[in-house]
């Protein structure tokens, strides 16, 4: 199963799940996810790209699949139980798709249980990597998918609206996983309080929260510390135009560390260029239409870092198991 070009392919056939979120719509999550998937597929990795956005599906379009036959919606509604049957071929070797088209508009989102079953099924797919492209916002449906691993990708654009939502998104992810892992009722209550930004205990950051938790029980303080360390969201800055935009990734990482005690990693950036828009219009990944463009070079660099062995210590128990 190891070809020369593959590195860090997960062992024993279990694919590595990588979610792409970021809070704000329109920052390029789908573009980045589709192109990284295509980049890895070109390098010989077997990739499944999953559209997790039932209310704004368009990953299939980015990958040149005009009319997917089945989709996540069929799983959500119970029409199709076997996730493998949702897989669509794309025009590109090694790259398959699970679309999110034709949802039931009355209740598009699968419930929590169904989402957990879906993620479990994704883990059993025969692939090296499974990318999950998430919708905007940070509601429970999005967060469940973002927490399939400790180091999901957060896509941001150099604009205040994106930055604001990205912080909200990372905070939400952090508190949610914490609440799932910390089982003591009193701790869960405090975490629940902290999730409300206007809480009367004055908990503004995970650091404040730690103090509260520590004042209760030493064991929970330690668990908190390990959850905190394991959570390493990875930042991609899309649509950069200036050197200052590139530095934004480092700056956001600094703020994450200093204000939220979240140890984010700066994965890389993708520049603004005309060929990006052209590729979107052509409904093809840029790395296929113009593999020599600057943006393609940047995407290839991000892809390399994305699949490099993890630097973080062993992850905390997967949130979904507890849920």
């Amino acid at each position: 199963m190891n070809h020369g070009t593959r590195e860090a392919a997960p062992g024993r056939g279990a694919p590595r799940l990588i979610p792409f979120g970021g809070g704000k719509g329109g920052v390029g999550k789908t573009f980045v996810a589709a192109n990284l998937a295509a980049t890895l597929a070109r390098a010989g990795h077997r990739v499944v790209a999953v559209d997790g956005d039932l209310e704004g599906a368009n990953l299939h379009t980015a990958l040149g699949v005009a009319r997917p036959r089945l989709s996540l919606a069929d799983f959500a509604s119970g029409r199709e139980e076997d996730v493998r049957k949702l897989l669509e071929d794309t025009p590109y070797p090694n790259l398959r798709l699970i679309a999110a088209t034709h949802p039931n508009l009355e209740s598009p989102q699968p419930n929590h249980e169904t989402r957990i079953r879906f993620v479990r099924a994704l883990r059993s797919l025969d692939a090296d990597f499974v990318f999950v492209d998430l919708g905007a916002g940070s509601d429970a449906a999005v967060m469940d998918y973002f927490m399939v691993c400790d180091d999901g990708v957060v896509v941001i654009a150099p604009e205040p609206t994106s930055i604001e939502n990205a912080y909200a998104f990372m905070r939400a992810a952090f508190y949610r996983r914490l609440r799932l892992v910390m089982l003591a009722p009193e701790v869960r209550r405090i975490v629940g309080t902290a999730m409300d930004e206007r809480n009367e205990r004055g908990i503004r950051t995970p650091m404040d929260l730690l103090r509260e938790v520590q004042s209760l029980d030493g064991g929970d303080g330690q668990r908190f510390a390990s959850v905190m360390r394991a959570f390493r969201p990875r930042l991609v800055v899309n649509d950069v135009r200036t050197a200052e935009d590139i530095k934004l990734g480092f700056a956001v990482r600094s703020v994450c560390r200093k204000y939220f005690a979240i140890d984010a990693e700066y994965l890389g950036y993708v520049n603004h260029e005309a060929s990006v828009r052209d590729s979107v219009r052509a409904r093809k990944p840029l790395v296929e239409t113009d593999s020599r463009s600057d943006a393609s070079v940047y995407l290839a660099r991000i892809a390399r870092k994305l699949i490099a062995p993890k630097r973080a210590p062993a992850p905390a128990p997967a949130a979904e198991v507890r849920a």
Partner: protein, 212 residues
Amino acid sequence: MKPLSEQNYYETLEVSQTASLQEIERAYKIALTTYAPDSLAGYSVFAEGDGELLRERVEIAYRVLSEPQARERYDAELAQPQTEIADTAGSDPGAFASSAGQSAPPALEPADDLVELDDGGGAWDGARLRRARLQQGVELEQIADVTKVNPTYLQFIEEERFEGLPAAVYVRGFVVGYAGCLGIDPQSVAGSYMELFEQPQDSGKRRLFSRR
């Protein structure tokens, strides 16, 4: 991680205690961006007055760490027993864990994202020069200021618009200056770039690389 007010100068700049002067310079530049008055990264996070306070701390940290003698004195101070735990654990998470009453975890690697963001490799063509420049956070105007080369020429070098550039001997000089500003070996860059410059032009192949 420690509250900002308890961080030492290295933690403030997010560099390891063995950081080179160059790493400190880079970290300082990033900190200036992070805590600038109109900081994008701080949007929705910094409270009133936060930025000013942080800028002050960053300035002090930089002033001490960028001056070898001051840094030496500061290191000696840090090595005093009362601060020992935080220092041996390296950067923030270690310090954090020790305060959480846990055995020291593996120290976090220094902020190596900068190093890892390589420029794609290959011959030194215009695109690679631009990538290297952007990666270091340098604007064309800054290179123009230092080298006194007309920024339009610098832009033409990046875009490989050779028809707009003067004779080879000048272009070589420009490229040497450009590379020097980025701290990359001017001779190998110039050698590589001039090979491209002196090639007969085949307009069909060149520059699908239009940007913006």
